[in-house]
């Protein structure tokens, strides 16, 4: 009786149930609510970005004139010798003294990291005025901080980790600037008269880098050297006429980075070294082949590059970048008049000398720099490496003495090191021990990233909104 009931009712019910469960198991999709992460989900706008017509150098305001201070020169990014080392004989202070830093003048600036160049008593800075919405090349008296003149043009910018971030290149006759949106302007050094302007975005299809242009112009023999990216890789423009002297093709479509062009001489051949987004290259700077690509390599091609190439001895180039890129050493070789680049060293930021923003200082066979935040235990420490071994630090500032993304300069055998928050440290030059001579909080702002200028005993520094001039002459 029970057996019959079992066979008649329960077994079929069990079979139906089993089939139902199997069907459900086959049909059920536990990830049906999942969405694939594919490009375009951020609704990024594609196509050409509307380009604003910019009338470069359209505005000019004259205020006054000032006396020269001959010999006070830091005429471009990284100084006369492109090394960020002051070789002047002026004795500088070892400490800030009981009264603290002797601030000669202080002026408010537009938000940014643009730093000054100095030439014979005049300070040149490419500022951005948010109220007027203008890039302004401002000229100040080094002694008093009084503004002498300003030349500018209207260009719309939005705050993006600061607005301005380049240093003018100044010669006896000319001042050349590159603005945040890649407008190049050349003006007379003393009077501020406009000589010419060049909009790289419209003329060369240059893609404005993330957080705006960081490349500082180079003027060599009255010729402006600009790494454009876009239609050309690099161009040379006559400062007097604004006419193009030469142009290097860009078949690989490398893009403009925040890095600046550095000159190098190897085997009696002068060349311009540049690290673009895409790769590194050397371009002839002399002779009949000016503008010719001598060598190139893509062994180091991060998506963001702020530091500039550090030219070492014997054809070696040290290059670094942030965002996990680490560092590389490139060996340039010459054979039969041709040049090649070979990778000699490559490592992650926690394996050797690296830098996110500032370009390390090469001096007497040693390289000094502040390690990035992803450098493990050495993060944000000031360190020294032998140029022949950029993996093993010879000196570190220690885990209690960390800096940020701020600048540093070597002058009178002392390093002046600025942290993010406006505190300046004076440290004795040494390759073995880090010895702090003194430090002082000078600015109250943040993001003190603009390079420091020291000349004639004047020290110029800035945070995101203020520039100060300090008397650092020793008594």
């Amino acid at each position: 009786m029970i057996k019959d009931t079992l066979y008649r009712y329960l077994l079929p019910a069990f079979i139906v149930l089993a089939i139902g469960v199997l069907a459900w198991w086959l049909i059920y999709n536990p990830v049906k609510t999942f969405k694939s992460s594919v490009p375009g989900m951020d609704e990024r706008k594609t196509g050409a970005v509307a380009v604003q017509k910019v009338n470069i150098g359209e505005t000019f305001t004259f205020f006054k004139t000032c006396d020269d201070i001959p010999g006070t020169r830091l005429p471009r990014f990284r100084g006369t010798d492109f090394d960020n080392v002051s070789k002047e004989n002026t004795r500088l202070i070892d400490s800030w003294g009981k009264q603290g830093p002797k601030i000669l003048w202080k002026i408010p600036l537009g938000e940014g990291h643009a730093a000054p160049a100095v030439y014979d008593g005049r300070v040149y800075l490419l500022d951005y005025n948010e109220t007027k919405k203008q890039d302004l090349l401002r000229c100040f008296s080094l002694a008093t901080g009084e503004e002498l003149w300003q030349r500018g043009y209207t260009v719309r910018l939005k705050r993006n980790h600061g607005l301005s971030r380049t240093i003018p290149a100044v010669t006896d006759k000319y001042v050349v600037t590159i603005g945040p949106r890649c407008q190049v302007m050349c003006a007379d050094r003393l009077k501020g008269d406009l000589l010419w302007g060049l909009d790289l975005a419209t003329e060369y299809s240059t893609e404005v880098p993330f957080w705006y242009t960081g490349q500082c112009p180079l003027v060599d023999n009255d010729t402006a050297i600009i790494a454009t990216g876009g239609k050309s890789l690099m161009i040379a423009v006559d400062c007097k006429t604004g006419k193009k002297v030469w142009e290097t093709p860009n078949p690989q479509n490398w893009k403009m980075s925040h890095s600046s062009v550095m000159p190098m001489v190897f085997k009696a051949k002068k060349m311009y070294v540049y690290c673009a987004v895409g790769g590194m290259c050397g371009i002839s700077a002399q002779g009949s082949d000016q503008g010719k690509l001598l060598w190139s390599t893509s062994v180091f091609s991060p998506s963001v590059i702020a530091p500039s190439p550090v030219i070492l001895d014997n054809g070696l180039i040290y290059m670094t970048a942030g965002y996990g890129a680490g560092g590389v050493v490139i060996q340039i070789k010459e054979s039969g008049g041709g040049f090649t680049a070979e990778l000699k060293e490559k490592y992650k930021p926690n394996e050797g000398l690296a830098s996110e923003q500032q370009t390390p200082v090469y001096y007497n066979g040693y390289i000094f720099g502040i390690l990035p935040k992803d450098a493990g235990g050495l993060r944000e420490q000031f360190a020294c490496y032998k140029a022949s071994d950029t993996r093993k630090p010879l000196m570190i500032s220690g885990k209690t003495t960390r800096f940020g993304l701020g600048p540093y300069i070597l002058a009178d055998n002392k390093f002046f090191i600025l942290n993010d928050d406006g505190e300046m440290t004076i440290a004795k030059y040494s390759t073995s021990t880090f010895q702090v001579l003194d430090k002082a909080k000078i600015l109250d702002g943040q993001d003190s990233w603009g390079p420091i200028a020291i000349t004639g005993g004047y020290l110029l520094m800035r945070d995101s909104k203020t520039m100060v001039c300090i008397d650092v002459r020793a008594k």
Binding site: M41, E43, H161, P302, D374
Partner: protein, 214 residues
């Protein structure tokens, strides 16, 4: 009339009962003084926690666990050690500190060539950070909290390459507020601490400053 045997029995029972009562009273008194709960369970699971006046119960009612972002080393243990699955520790976005960058170190893997929302470019293993175009060149990043497992990869990336606007926090709508937090016990940076329940978050930056002022 009791005989001698009954009298001795009664005396012994009385002595034993008196001793037991005295011992129990002493234990209860000592436990109240030392603050040790004899129930041996977490306040979170105890029905008496609302009425209990033991010090640990008072602490439980008045404070909660929180993670100090200034001490956090982004080791990833918050994702693994919490008694909740997924972890009650989630990433929080301090918008006032964010740069709204296209190239975001908290969203994209380091050295990503192609900046897009493709899965292979994203740092987050669960795609818990959403990115939306605002206006050229700004992008907004929001957290899909149910997807976040508290692994801190984005926090590490944001801190290393950005403003540090992504910060881990114990989310109190999920945290069961254990007496002994399993993550705190395993935190190598000693970043966990009890904070007042009235101010349960420890965000850094502008929002934190505003909170202090307010």
């Amino acid at each position: 009339m009791q005989n001698r045997r009954e009298f001795l029995n009664l005396l012994c029972r009385g002595t034993i009962l008196t001793g037991l009562a005295a011992t129990t009273g002493l234990l209860v008194y000592r436990s109240a003084q030392s603050g040790n709960c004899q129930l041996g369970s977490s306040c979170a699971n105890c029905g008496k926690s609302g009425k209990c006046n033991l010090p640990q119960a008072l602490l439980y009612k008045e404070t909660v666990w929180q993670l100090d972002p200034t001490k956090c080393i982004q080791c990833g243990r918050c994702a693994e050690n919490c008694v909740m699955t997924p972890s009650a520790v989630k990433v929080t976005h301090v918008y006032a500190m964010c740069g709204y960058c296209d190239l975001c170190g908290g969203y994209l893997k380091p050295d990503t060539k192609n900046i897009s929302t493709a899965a292979e470019n994203q740092l987050c293993p669960t795609s818990a950070i959403k990115r939306k175009f605002v206006e050229e060149p700004f992008y907004q990043y929001t957290i899909d909290e149910p997807l976040c497992i508290g692994c801190a990869k984005c926090v590490k990336g944001c801190g290393a390459f950005g403003n540090g606007s992504l910060q881990l926090q114990v989310r109190h709508d999920r945290c069961v507020n254990c007496n002994e937090c399993a993550i705190a016990r395993n935190c190598p940076a000693d970043a966990f601490k009890r904070v007042p329940a009235s101010k349960p978050y420890l965000l850094q930056g502008i929002e934190a400053k505003n909170e202090e002022k307010g």
